[in-house]
Amino acid sequence: MSKYILKRLLHMIPVILVISILIFGIIKLAPGSPVGTNLDPRATPEQKQLERTRLGLDEPLYVQYGLWLSRVVQGDLGKSFLYQKPVKDVIGPYLKNTFILNIPVFILAFGISIPVGIHSAVKRYSVFDNFWTVFSLIGISLPSFFFGLLLIYFFAVKIQILPINGMIEAGSNTTGFAYALEVTKHMVLPGLVLTIGSLASYVRYTRNGMLEVIHQDYIRTARAKGLNEKVVVYRHGFRNALLPIVTLLGYSLIFLLSGAVIVETVFNWPGMGRVLLESVTMRDYNLMMAVMMLYAILTLVGNLLADIGYALVDPRVKVD
């Protein structure tokens, strides 16, 4: 097993390299540059040219890429043009905030969807199942920003029990436990939007995965053998239904990070999504590359975890 993991990790390296070349190529080939929109309009064309040279934008693409790569392997992610700070310093706090919001969402979404999905599959077409089917359809169709604004209007403006937006109250000085409480209070609405959005699809996914398993022959055999229904479903059925769930878990790792852009904007949550969006609009290449590579690596890691999970859960799968 450990040999397998090592092999996979080694395979990841050329994949990451190719991805970085592709991403770099695409964002550099897109028209537009940071110099036009970020400098003082009073700046003369000579000054704009000077800035372009300083940022190395005139070098051929492969040279720019080579420079970027050589810096990155030494641990230097470069300076963010927008923030005029090392990229590491810019990303750090925002990444933390995104995790604070998304990890509970992740746990909640899976924690609810798995039992619900299984129960829906087992009791197909029951009231419980129909309710969750309708819920899923609505949840998938409803755009997140619309839902978010609706929640804000109802809970924060009409009955005013939750804050409108942000991570903490404007001007708040709380520390320690009071601070944690305040952040949690601010997390409720955006967390709700994200959770419901994810729940909707996860429930369908687990339900379908479970349904496929339930109609298999070996389940019928287990029942015929006289086993307790609970054992049949949860020991024999569920363990096999876990396979698609594990895949989903692995891939979801990245969707939670990137899919939160809209929710972060509506709720003014200071997270990664908005930073990435801004860096793309303003053509902050160093920041863009760093964040996209982070996402790429996370996706690959998620895949790896899914594969390992597969091996652990499914006795038919052999790794060598």
Partner: protein, 580 residues
């Protein structure tokens, strides 16, 4: 039968779900800083929203309501230091933390701030400032001439990488200091403890405005030549020292910044003890006003639906004033179809700009026909208003030789069709509203236009760097002095990355701009810019569109919140009071 009904029901559910999300983002035309201001016409009085003081006001119930003024504004990046603030929003915060040598009054004329008085000499190339002697920084250190000298020298430093070198690069001795061995800038002279003289190479009437930079203390930010990075390091660590009305307390990225009143401010009492600038988004501005989490929101888009919501709240006052910016469509004068000014005028006559203003702004904007602001001293109302006249447009185009010879619906001449591509930006209701209107109006005069949308950054490169376009639209923001028209319309700036993207090369206009910038006699200057306004109105290198309103929206519990076109909310922040 049952199946059919359920099918219909399902279809309608799906359709309604699909439509719930529509009507997405609406952003206003992006404006860049700089630009001279041309005034807009009268404010539409129909937008008066006055608060009812008697009804329940949620802002009063806020925990910190008694001594804190919360202002909602667009996110600031956190670059509050005079040398580095690069967005309008950071600029506001810089204004309340730092004081400048001069500022402008309501009419836009320069008045002394830190400078008790100033004189011009040396053929108007030198400004000698006599500083007040009672100004102290927040830590009690007196502000003296050396701090002024330090501030401008810092901007000339070889390692300085901010954008305000444009304020100093025309000073005497700049090159010798910035790229040479000089140990100071010869044009910046400390005469005595409270007197400082600044000399420019060329005398220009708007040089004075280049000196409107918040003075930074030498004892806090000082560095040896080449060490400008120190200023940035201190700023990144959120360590600030200024002399301004509000003392910096805390900055929470993307969330808010907090300040406390400077009790020792030289200009008098700062009435409200605490100030919080909360960073709001257009999505939730209204909700915040409604719930009272903010006491004011600046620059609320002057749209009808906002007006209605604000009126319904009841405890809100709206302060409308002419925005310091105008929108326009640029004609590429290098294109042989657009090089004839008769054609440009005809195209302008042929678009009902008033109708657009009615529909998009609900009348809360002014039609403009020249790049000079109505509230500016340089304005003249003798300009041609180019009111919509389809017949006149048709006649002018006929006369200019553009006729539809091949029956395809658009006029042509010498094999060229009057079929244009209009480059514009995505994600804007302003643009989306204008496109069909322009297409319809121009079709009636035999002109075709296709909109080509792209992201704003790409558009900037296409227009300014590559100069590859037929038409495009953007906006300019304006300053108090019409001298900034120089970099937008003088032929010298018709080069890649220059501001003269449309390629205007008019000898008469060049001459007026040159004379206007070096003229110091106010009456003569007025005459020059009046001629300029008329010339621009005649030449029409742009189709000037509109100048909108800005609404600064204030909760009823806030008193003395005074704004005007040349004085934004930071100008008299010390007078603002909150009641409970």
């Amino acid at each position: 039968m049952k199946k059919k009904i359920t099918w219909l029901l399902a279809l309608s559910l799906v359709l309604s779900a699909a439509l719930t999300g529509c009507g997405g983002g609406a952003t206003e035309p992006a404006a860049s800083d700089n630009v001279p201001q041309e005034n807009a016409t009268e404010i539409n009085e129909a937008v008066e929203v006055v608060a009812d003081e008697t009804i329940a006001n949620p802002a009063k119930n806020r925990d910190n309501a008694a001594d804190t003024f919360v202002v909602g504004m667009h996110e600031a990046k956190g670059e509050f230091l005079s040398a580095y603030n690069s967005t309008t929003h950071d600029g506001y915060i810089n204004k309340i933390m730092y004081d400048c040598l001069i500022t402008n009054n309501k009419e836009g004329a320069p008045v002394g701030m830190l400078a008790e008085s100033f004189e011009m000499s040396n053929e108007n190339r030198t400004y000698t400032f006599k500083l007040r002697e009672d100004v102290k920084f927040w830590d009690g250190t007196p502000l003296t001439a050396k701090d002024v000298a330090f501030t401008f020298t810092a901007l000339a430093d070889p390692a300085y990488d901010g954008r305000y070198n444009t304020s100093v690069f025309e000073m005497e001795g700049y090159d010798a200091y910035n790229t040479g061995d000089a140990d100071h800038v010869s044009g910046i002279e400390v005469i005595d403890e409270y007197t400082v003289a600044i000399t420019y190479v060329t005398a220009k009437a708007d040089n004075i405005w280049q000196l409107e930079i918040g003075i930074m203390p030498e004892h806090f930010y000082g560095f040896e030549k080449g060490g400008a990075q120190k200023m940035r390091d201190l700023m990144n660590a959120n360590e600030y020292m200024g002399s301004g009305r509000y003392i910096f307390e805390r900055f929470e990225p993307k969330q808010f910044a907090t300040f406390t009143a400077n009790e020792n401010w030289y200009g008098g009492e700062v009435k409200t003890k605490n100030l919080i600038t909360k960073f709001t988004t257009p999505d939730t501005q209204m909700q915040e006003l409604q719930a009272g989490t903010i006491d004011a929101q600046i620059q609320v888009p002057a749209k009808e639906e906002n007006g209605i919501q604000l009126e319904d709240m009841g405890f809100i006052n709206v302060n409308p004033y002419l925005a310091n910016s105008y929108g326009y469509i640029g004609f590429n004068l290098r294109d042989e179809r657009l090089e004839d000014k008769e054609v440009r005028q005809a195209l302008t006559y042929g678009f009902n700009r008033n109708a657009f203003i009615q529909i998009y702004y609900n009348g809360n904007a002014a039609l403009i026909n020249t790049p000079i602001s109505k509230v500016s001293w340089a304005y003249t109302d003798e300009v041609n208003s180019y009111n919509y006249d389809m017949d006149k447009a048709n006649a002018m185009l006929d006369e200019a030789g553009w006729v539809d010879t091949n029956g395809d619906g658009t006029r042509d001449k010498n094999g060229k069709e009057l079929q244009f591509v209009w480059d514009t930006y995505t994600d804007s209701r302003y643009v989306e509203t204008m496109i069909p209107m322009l297409q319809a109006d121009w079709k009636k005069i035999g002109v075709g236009v296709e909109a080509n949308l792209m992201d704003f950054n790409t558009l900037v490169e296409k227009v300014y760097t590559e100069q590859d376009f037929d038409l495009y639209n953007m906006a300019w923001s304006l300053t108090t002095d019409p001298g900034s028209n120089h970099s937008t319309f003088h032929s010298q700036f018709d080069e890649p990355d220059g501001n003269n993207s449309v390629g205007l090369r008019n000898a008469k206009i060049d001459d007026l701009l040159e004379r206007g910038s070096i003229e110091f006699d106010q009456e003569t200057r007025k005459a020059i810019y009046k001629e300029f306004a008329l010339a621009m109105n005649e030449e029409l290198p742009y189709m000037f569109l509109s100048q909108g309103q800005d609404w600064d929206v204030v909760n009823a519990r806030v008193k003395n919140f005074n704004v005007s076109p040349y004085e934004n909310w930071t100008w008299h922040i010390e007078d603002v009071e909150v009641t409970n």
